[in-house]
């Protein structure tokens, strides 16, 4: 059974970091990821079941890990060796119970909610975040009866989606896939849930100007989630949603998902200025131009120093910059944040979102399934590869925008390339 295994190897990690400076994904051949034969992990406790992956996506955080660019912050909430792959649609190998408490028969299609919170770790009582339904904010990611790991795909005990031998998942992680949802749509449900959480967590008010920085998978899915959730009244409808998208296919998709305008990322600030009817000053001698107003909310789906600086330059005084793209160690001028009293907020993963009543909470994944079905987010899956071609797959994912692609996934059912 083929498995892509990521081992702790500082020389290989360093080599990947050096080679990936030539381009994201280029260093995977010299990095710590290798294809091995390996059996499925054993279930660690009651309430766990085996899942056989069908499709498993390559995420930006996976690329950061493979490139050796991820923050050292994660070192203590990751355990080695691990099998990457946290965007997973697969089938249950045995009967199980789903996150909503319903029974799931062996062979059922499921999507993985990969966060390994208190429930998966057998921790009683759960931490306050898990008690509140905010599993993404679980404080116990290094504890319990499995080894550290913020998510499946970063934990030595659970396996991950990049494996034909399968993974193990706790019932709190299992969501049944509706029959009407294809595998391509389903494999995007996890990143869609991130997008839903980001949108519902941002302080968007009706009539706001919202800017989305970046139109990779996350940026496009934030756009899709915002478009759908606003259309069904789950969140206030902005008057304008502007998306900075470097490539033409990204602009096309962003428009299809309902944004007001999708335009090259270097034009985004101009569009924000125009739609917020702001004045602009500065910008000469290499400084960033400052707007008198700006977007009410900027959702940064890149997380680079440049994107954060761009976001801070576009947001209005007392507005919010929501960091959805995974940042690392960045150097950025926070003077405008201080001077304009801008809120800089993280938006990570998912959990539950406000429901209809004051005390109701709805799983983020339940909303993500709706968004995936309504916006056909599976259209973002541009190519699938067998595990044996992992170097090609990762290189493709690292250059997705430039190569006209968005989401690259492993088709775990595919055999070796002929």
């Amino acid at each position: 059974m083929s498995t892509l295994l990521f081992e702790r190897s500082l020389p290989r990690f360093a080599a990947a970091r050096v080679v990936s400076t030539l381009g994201s994904g280029r260093g995977v051949g010299v990095g710590p990821l290798r294809l091995v034969e390996r059996d499925a992990p054993a279930v660690p406790a009651e309430g766990w079941a085996h899942v056989e992956p069908t499709l498993s996506g390559i995420c930006g955080s996976d690329l950061a890990t493979l490139d050796g660019r991820s923050s050292r912050y994660f070192e203590d909430i990751v355990s080695f060796p691990f099998v990457p792959g946290h965007e997973v649609v697969g089938t249950l190998a045995e009967d199980a119970v789903g996150a909503d408490g319903s029974g799931l028969a062996a062979g059922s299609r499921v999507v993985l909610q990969p966060v390994l919170g208190c429930a998966a770790r057998g921790i009683e009582p759960p931490c306050p975040a898990c008690q509140a339904g905010n599993v993404g904010n679980c404080g116990n990611l290094a504890f319990g009866h499995i080894r550290p790991g913020l998510q499946t795909g970063f934990c030595a005990d659970t396996g991950g989606g990049w494996s034909t031998s399968g993974l193990v998942a706790h019932s709190s992680q299992l969501y049944a896939v509706p029959d009407h949802l294809g595998d391509s749509d389903a494999v995007t449900v996890e990143p869609v849930a991130c997008a839903v959480h980001a949108v519902l967590g941002a302080p968007i008010a009706a009539g706001d100007v919202v800017a989305v920085v970046g139109a990779g998978t996350l940026g496009l899915l934030v756009t899709a989630a915002l478009g759908h959730l606003a259309s069904i009244g789950r969140c206030p409808a902005p008057s304008v949603v502007l998306v900075g998208a470097r490539y033409a296919h990204q602009q096309r998709l962003a428009r299809a998902f309902g944004c007001t305008e999708a335009l090259p990322d270097d034009q985004l600030a101009r569009a924000v200025r125009r739609h917020s009817r702001s004045l602009s000053y500065g910008g000469a001698s290499g400084t960033t131009a400052t707007l008198s107003g700006g977007a009410d909310v900027v959702i940064d789906c890149v997380g680079s120093p440049e994107s954060i600086a761009q976001s801070l330059a576009m947001v209005r005084p007392r507005g919010t910059v929501s960091l959805v793209g995974m940042p690392g160690k960045v150097t950025v001028d926070l003077a405008p944040l201080w001077h304009r009293e801008v809120r800089l907020a993280g938006a990570y993963a998912y959990g539950t979102e406000p429901g209809a009543g004051p005390d109701d909470r709805v799983p983020t994944f339940a909303l993500a399934f709706e968004v995936a079905a309504a916006q056909r987010t599976g259209q973002l899956v541009s190519a699938t590869y067998p595990l044996t071609r992992f170097e090609d797959a990762v290189a493709h994912a690292g250059a997705a925008g430039r190569r006209g692609a968005v989401k690259i996934a492993f088709d775990v059912r595919k055999g070796p390339a002929s």
Binding site: E261, Q267, R274, L279
Partner: protein, 529 residues
């Protein structure tokens, strides 16, 4: 030797290649046998004594107007308005005709004891002129006498304190113009009528108007019904301006209109070959062409632009008439036609044109893609009377590099128009409906227009509306040698060579089309029969 009229050449096997302008450069193209090439008439003889002619015109006005000195008296409020940097093209060698006219008017005003005199550059929604441009247009003597005292102003269409609403025409068109001009005892307007579109009631009703007023005729509906806007009787643009002009007159605004025409002696001696017919090029002309073309091909566009923008034209005065607006303009229009008119028999399937480096809106600036479209489809296409040179459903082939470059100070809203409007629609009607107002009222564009040297936020829309008649008329527009992405953004088809363009055109006009090339500049007007 008498000057030769315009000429329509039929290309045969012995015809030398034809000069095509190509932005800041030019090239030679071999056109198919049977093609027609239209050449402008040779320059009308210049008036030997311009100051004398100007003085004569002011003393012998036409229409219902007294001689200028009779209209001047001590204690009166006199405002002298003048056309802005968009005229003439290229800018003329000093002294500029505006300087000569205004100096003469000021001499008469001084003789009459008038001491409340203000000069106003009639910008409409164009960019404010720089000091250097004002000095060139008016001369140092006028500039230094007025500017330091705040008496040389530039019309501000966004200054509510200096606009006055005079009423509405019988068609419901708001007439709102410069307050100083409207409330003066006499408004003297000094015009340069480079093309037949200029002048007449358009001088005041457009040059001194606000957006509230301009929007009534600067819109797709009007422009589509101006066939062409170079032919006043057939131009809805002008009909609207005429209604407004008459309302301005009825409101008691007393206008003394001074219109001038220039000959089409366009290029200085080192570029003189550009206004010759190719078969008459001397050995020196050929050598100059070859050397210039080679040098330009190796010159960075920015440097080439500087070289061309520094060209000053030897344009010379051919007529000056003054008095009542309509009477003056009738004479002016006749004089423009006398210089520029060329008789052309029948329309063509394909109209080709080489677009030069300059149009009215990029003097000392950059010819961005929207201005390329405007120059080709707005100006060159519309240089006709009767019917368009190209038949309905025909093809226009333009040659221009069409680089997606913009002057950020002069054309800020053009950048956003290019990125945020043309990416969504190229339909003038749709953009008018969905985008125009937000650009027109954008506070940043307004700020830059009022305090910097930026065209008004709505101006790129107007440039696109200028193309509206052509866009509705032709079947395809092809740009040879243009940046492919920019050309497609405009909704046109890119072609790498003239042969490619002709092949692309054959999809629309068939395999054996007729072709006519407008050898422009020097500019001409086609009287198409």
């Amino acid at each position: 030797m008498s000057r030769r009229p315009g000429f329509v050449l039929e290309v045969d096997t012995s015809t030398p290649p034809t000069l095509f302008w190509n932005g800041e450069g030019f090239t030679l193209e071999t056109l198919p046998v049977g093609s027609r090439v239209i050449y402008a008439p040779e320059p009308v003889k210049a008036i030997d004594d311009p100051y004398g002619a100007i003085r004569h015109a002011l003393l012998h006005p036409v229409g219902d107007r007294d001689p200028l000195p009779a209209l001047l008296r001590p204690g009166m409020k006199l405002t002298i308005c003048f056309d802005d940097v968009s005229l003439p093209l290229p800018p003329m060698e000093a002294p500029d005709i505006r300087q000569m006219v205004i100096e003469t008017v000021l001499d008469m005003a001084a003789e009459a004891g008038v001491d409340d005199v203000v000069l106003v550059a009639a910008l409409a929604l164009h960019r404010r002129m720089t000091e250097e441009e004002l000095r060139h247009a008016l001369g140092n003597r006028v500039y230094d006498a007025f500017a330091p005292h705040g008496l040389l102003t530039q019309h501000d269409a966004e200054d509510p304190d200096n606009l006055v609403h005079l009423g509405q025409t019988d068609q419901g068109e708001d007439v709102e113009i410069n307050k100083r001009a409207a409330t003066s005892d006499l408004l003297v307007y000094v015009n340069i009528n480079l093309v037949s579109m200029d002048g007449g009631h358009k001088s005041v009703a457009t040059g001194l108007a606000s957006y509230r007023s301009l929007r009534h005729h600067h819109n797709p509906q009007t422009m589509r019904h101006s066939k062409s806007f170079m032919d006043q009787p057939a131009s809805e643009l002008h009909s609207s301006n005429w209604r407004m002009g008459r309302l301005i007159a009825e409101s008691g605004v007393k206008i003394f209109q001074i219109e001038t025409t220039l000959n089409n002696d366009t290029f200085p001696s080192n570029f003189k070959f550009l206004q010759k017919r190719e078969w008459e090029w001397s050995l020196r002309d050929r050598a100059t062409f070859a050397a210039t073309s080679t040098a330009l091909s190796k010159t960075p566009p920015r440097i080439a632009r500087q070289i061309f923008q520094s060209i000053k034209s030897p344009h010379a005065l051919t007529s000056v008439q003054a008095g009542e607006v309509e009477a003056v303009h009738a004479l002016t229009t006749a004089n423009v036609w006398a210089q520029q008119g060329v008789d052309v028999e029948g329309q063509t399937d394909i109209l080709t044109m080489g677009l030069p480096y300059i149009c009215p809106y990029n003097v000392n600036s950059i010819m961005n893609p929207i201005l390329v479209a405007c120059l080709g489809l707005g100006y060159f296409f519309n240089m006709y009377r009767g019917k368009p040179l190209v038949r309905e459903g025909g093809v226009v082939i333009m040659r221009h590099p069409t680089r997606p470059e913009f002057h950020p100070g002069h054309h800020p809203s053009y950048i956003d128009f290019y990125e945020q409007v043309l990416t969504q629609t190229i339909d003038p009607v749709q953009m008018h409906k969905e985008f125009e107002e937000s650009f027109a009222t954008d506070p940043w564009y307004v700020h830059l227009y009022r305090t910097g040297h930026a065209y008004h936020g709505v101006h790129p829309f107007y440039m696109w509306y200028w193309c509206a008649h052509a866009l509705a008329h032709v079947g395809r527009v092809i740009v040879v040698g243009g940046d492919a992405k920019a050309v497609r953004r405009l909704g046109f088809s890119p072609a790498s060579s003239m042969n490619d363009a002709l092949e692309i055109a054959s999809d629309v006009v068939g395999p054996s089309p007729t072709l006519t090339h407008v050898h422009n500049p020097p500019i001409f007007m086609a009287d198409v029969h």
